[in-house]
Symmetry: C2
Subunit: 197 residues, 2 copies
């Protein structure tokens, strides 16, 4: 389903690959939608653990910005390893199914909303210690971080290059997230300022 | 196909809705992929005209930043009118088909690449007149603008709200694109600087 999408992944094809008889499938799942929900939940469990590992577990060792960057780098490595194929299951299914199944849309949105909250908590922490700019609310920056990331992954799939990911990371971290260190008065000549801002 | 995606839009269903016999379909198209390419080309023609209208035609009346904003506003209005359904055909099919059909992927990437070039030309113009920051190359900012936009549209479909679009527009224009006017030396106290950057 990650590879082919919801509609294009036939139940029979999946059963053949898994070498499972059809009766067993319908013993466990009422419909393809039920099956997709189970896949999504399974993916969510594994992936959210990965997000948590990047954003929370390493909080003693790394700063909020470093942890957000670790999230990007870790996913960039996966994309590179798969030659920019597949992308993000939750993003793919959201794009494909948001208007086809309200049940799937709600569950997918719940999962993405949870990721956004995890980003927001990390961003808020960064704002509190002055590492991340505080001109927007944490949940706003988190929404942009999430949607920008998903868009960059889609473009990476589409161009089959990592360039969209690299541009996202560069501009997002340098321009949107990172607070500038306070400067001494001497360093602030008007020309310098207009270059920085 | 915009509504349901490639795999989920059955040829028979399309023929029924259009009240066209199957023979006619195969007289014009060898396969569903051929048909999808024709749809994509048709969409491209209409949509690129819309992009050009926002970004180029109005260049005497409006500045580059205003024209980029007009592009967003015009598409935001369409999303609002459709209650955040459907989104962008090229984005949807890229997400769904990039790993399924190399022929479709290439064509979709060509179309998006063209949009990116149109954004880049507008951004370069803005950099030349000092309206847009020049700390990144126009094609880099254009890639981020495109992928960020596509991601925000996907999130709008998924959340069924325009919030992701609003956040994208606010942060993209205020933080990434808009150059700050040069300031007089008097106005630049250290506190002011650290708030702005």
């Amino acid at each position: 389903m990650l590879e082919k999408g919801y509609s294009n992944a036939g139940i029979q094809e999946i059963l053949n690959r898994a070498d499972v008889p059809k009766g067993s499938f319908y013993y466990y799942f009422d419909s393809k939608q039920e099956f997709a929900l189970a896949i999504v939940n399974h993916f969510d469990e594994a992936y959210t653990a990965k997000v948590l590992k990047c954003l929370r577990e390493q909080s003693r060792q790394f700063s909020p910005l470093q942890r957000l960057r670790a999230f990007c780098q870790c996913n960039k490595n996966s994309l590179e390893a798969s030659q920019c194929r597949n992308g993000c299951l939750i993003g793919n299914l959201s794009q494909e199914m948001a208007d086809q199944s309200e049940i799937l849309r709600r569950r997918l949105e719940e999962i993405m909303g949870h990721w956004r909250d995890l980003f927001a908590a990390c961003i808020e922490e960064g704002q509190q210690i002055g590492e991340i700019k505080n001109n927007y609310r944490p949940d706003e920056i988190a929404e942009l971080f999430l949607s920008g990331w998903e868009g960059a992954v889609m473009r990476a799939k589409s161009t089959k290059t990592l360039e969209p990911i690299d541009v996202f990371m560069r501009v997002m971290f340098e321009q949107v997230l990172k607070a500038q260190p306070p400067q001494s008065f001497d360093a602030v000549a008007p020309q310098t300022v207009s270059q920085q801002v």
